[in-house]
C-alpha cells in the first residue's frame, strides 16, 4: 500500500471494529495488507489479541489485533485484506492489525481532549479526539493498551512463537529457492511441511502452485533460470507484457515478491492465456493485483502452455486497462 521510507508528520486514519482511530506516524514504518505479508499463525492458548508473527525487514513483528486490545468488535480470524501497520512499540517491532486504512491526517489538524468522565478512554489509550471529514476520530496511544498483565502475556507469546518464526524463516527461504527453480514435487513437499505446522492457507497455496506446474508440461521442463529476468516495477511489467505480446511469445512470466511467489502470467503466442496472483485466479483481477506489487522480480520461461490460444481481443483489452492503470498511478 504505502511505503514510508522518509519521515512523515501527522497521523494515520484507521478503522477498527466500526470506529475511527488516528495513530501518530512517528513510529510507523510502513502499512501493508495482511496478504502481502508472510505470517506465522498464533499457537493455541495465546491471548485473543495475539494474531501471530510476521517477518518484515528481516525482523519478526508480532501481530497485535487493535480491535481486541481496545475492546471493540473484532473479526474472528485474520482476514487477508486486514491492514497491518508495521512500526514499533517500546522499541519492539510490531504489526498493528486493523480493518481499514482511511488516509493520513495532517499534523496541523486540531484535537480536543476526550473527557474520561464521559467516555471510556481505555486507561489513557484514547486521550484525544479530532474531526476528519466531519466524523470524530479518536487518537490512539497503543502503549497505554498494555497493562502489566498484558505485558507479561506479550512476552510469553513472543517467547512461545520463536519456533514458529524459525520455521517461517526456513520455509520462506525454501520457497524463495523454489521460485528460482520451480518443481511440482518441491511445492508438494513444501505444502506438506506447511500443513504439518497447521498453516493451512500456505499449504493450499503451495498445493495450487504444484498443480499449476503439473498441468503445464512446458513450464515443468523449463530451465532453472529463464531467459528474461530482472527487477519488476509496474512500468517494467507493462513494457514486458507489451514486448511479449508484440513478439508473439509463449511461456510463463513468474513474478516474485520478497520471500514468495507473487503470481504468474501465461502467454500463448502473444496472448495472455491466464494470470494468477496469490489466491486470485481471475485473469483481470490477478493482473491488477500484480501491478500493485512493489520490490518484486520477474522471470520469463519460454514454452508452450497447455490449452487453446486465447482471443487476442481479450489481451488488447487487458493491455489498454493496464496502460491506464500505470498512467494513473504515475
Amino acid at each position: 500500500m504505502i511505503a514510508t521510507e522518509k519521515h512523515l508528520a501527522g497521523s494515520l486514519w484507521l478503522r477498527v471494529g466500526g470506529r475511527d482511530f488516528s495513530l501518530s506516524l512517528e513510529r510507523v514504518r510502513r502499512v501493508a495488507l495482511c496478504r502481502q505479508l508472510r505470517c506465522a499463525p498464533p499457537r493455541t492458548g495465546v491471548p485473543s489479541w495475539w494474531n501471530g508473527v510476521t517477518l518484515d525487514a528481516g525482523q519478526p513483528h508480532p501481530l497485535l489485533n487493535l480491535a481486541e486490545l481496545i475492546g471493540v468488535p473484532a473479526a474472528p480470524t485474520l482476514a487477508p485484506d486486514a491492514v497491518v501497520v508495521l512500526g514499533s512499540l517500546w522499541q519492539q517491532p510490531v504489526g498493528l492489525v486493523c480493518d481499514h486504512f482511511r488516509g493520513v491526517i495532517p499534523a496541523a489538524a486540531p484535537s480536543w481532549p476526550l473527557s474520561p468522565n464521559l467516555f471510556v478512554n481505555a486507561d489513557g489509550a484514547l486521550p484525544r479526539i479530532r474531526l476528519c471529514a466531519g466524523k470524530p476520530v479518536t487518537d490512539l496511544a497503543p502503549e497505554q493498551l498494555f497493562s502489566a498483565a498484558r505485558h507479561t502475556q506479550f512476552d510469553q507469546a513472543m517467547k512461545d512463537s520463536k519456533e514458529n518464526v524459525d520455521q517461517l524463516w526456513e520455509l520462506s527461504e525454501l520457497e524463495q529457492k523454489l521460485a528460482g527453480a520451480p518443481s511440482a514435487q518441491g511445492y508438494l513437499d513444501l505444502s506438506a511441511r506447511y500443513r504439518k505446522l497447521g498453516w493451512v492457507e500456505e499449504a493450499e497455496r503451495m498445493q495450487a502452485r504444484a498443480s499449476e506446474i503439473k498441468g503445464h508440461a512446458a513450464p515443468m521442463a523449463r530451465p532453472a533460470h529463464g531467459g528474461l529476468s530482472g527487477p519488476c516495477t509496474p512500468r517494467v511489467l507493462l513494457e514486458l507484457l507489451q514486448v511479449l505480446r508484440l513478439t508473439t511469445k509463449s511461456g510463463e512470466l513468474l513474478l516474485d515478491a520478497p520471500g514468495r511467489i507473487a503470481g504468474s502470467v501465461s502467454f500463448h503466442t502473444g496472448c495472455i492465456a491466464a494470470a494468477r496472483c496469490g489466491n486470485t485466479a481471475d485473469t483481470r483481477a490477478a493482473l491488477k493485483e500484480l501491478f500493485a506489487l512493489r520490490g518484486g522480480r520477474y522471470q520469463f520461461f519460454p514454452g508452450a502452455p497447455a490449452g487453446d490460444t486465447p482471443a487476442p481481443g481479450d489481451t488488447a483489452a487487458f493491455m489498454a486497462e493496464l496502460e491506464t492503470l500505470v498512467r494513473t498511478a504515475s
Binding site: R19, G71, V72, W112, L114, S115, P116, N117, L118, F119, V120, I129, R130, L131, G134, K135, P136, T138
Partner: protein
C-alpha cells in the same frame, strides 16, 4: 410552610429565579428548563449526526460536530433514569463568556418561558433538579453541576 416547601430550596447558582427567562425543551414525557444565558443555539439532529462512543456515563449519547468542534451530546432524561427515543434536536450549551461545551438532546425545538413566581427547586444529586410550584414534570438544568461533571 408545608413539609414539601420546607424540603425544597432555591440555590443561588445557575440563574434560577422566578421571572427569569429559560428555554423549555421536551424530552420524552419530561420538560427541562435551561438558563437563557447558557443557551448558545438550537439545531436539528439528523440521523447519523451523533457518533456513539463507548461511554462512561449513561446520559452521554455520543459526539456531535458543532462549529467544527466535537461536543458531547447529553440526554437529560437518561440522567433521571428515563428512556426516550433518539433526540431530533439539540441545544448548544456554553457559559456566556466561554466556548460551547455540550449539546443537550431534545425531541423538538424548545421555546422560551418565564419561571413562575411560585417555582421552587428540589435538591438533587445530579445535574437536573425537579421544579415544584406551577410547572408539572419539569426539571431545571444545573449548569454549574453539569460543568463540574464534564470537567471531572
Amino acid at each position: 410552610m408545608s413539609p414539601l416547601a420546607q424540603a425544597v430550596l432555591t440555590p443561588p447558582a445557575g440563574g434560577f429565579k422566578p421571572g427569569a427567562v429559560a428555554l423549555r425543551i421536551r424530552r420524552g414525557n419530561m420538560f427541562f428548563l435551561l438558563p437563557r444565558p447558557w443557551v448558545r443555539g438550537m439545531r436539528e439532529l439528523h440521523v447519523g449526526a451523533c457518533t456513539p462512543l463507548p461511554r462512561a456515563k449513561r446520559w452521554v449519547l455520543g459526539i456531535v460536530e458543532e462549529s467544527s468542534q466535537p461536543l458531547p451530546l447529553l440526554d437529560p432524561a437518561a440522567s433521571l433514569g428515563a428512556t426516550a427515543a433518539a433526540p431530533t434536536a439539540a441545544v448548544v450549551l456554553g457559559a456566556p463568556d466561554r466556548e460551547p461545551f455540550a449539546l443537550v438532546g431534545a425531541d423538538e425545538p424548545g421555546r422560551f418561558v418565564s419561571i413562575p413566581g411560585a417555582a421552587l427547586l428540589e435538591p438533587e444529586s445530579g445535574w437536573v433538579c425537579r421544579i415544584h410550584g406551577g410547572l408539572k414534570s419539569t426539571w431545571w438544568l444545573e449548569t454549574g453541576r453539569l460543568s463540574a461533571e464534564l470537567e471531572g
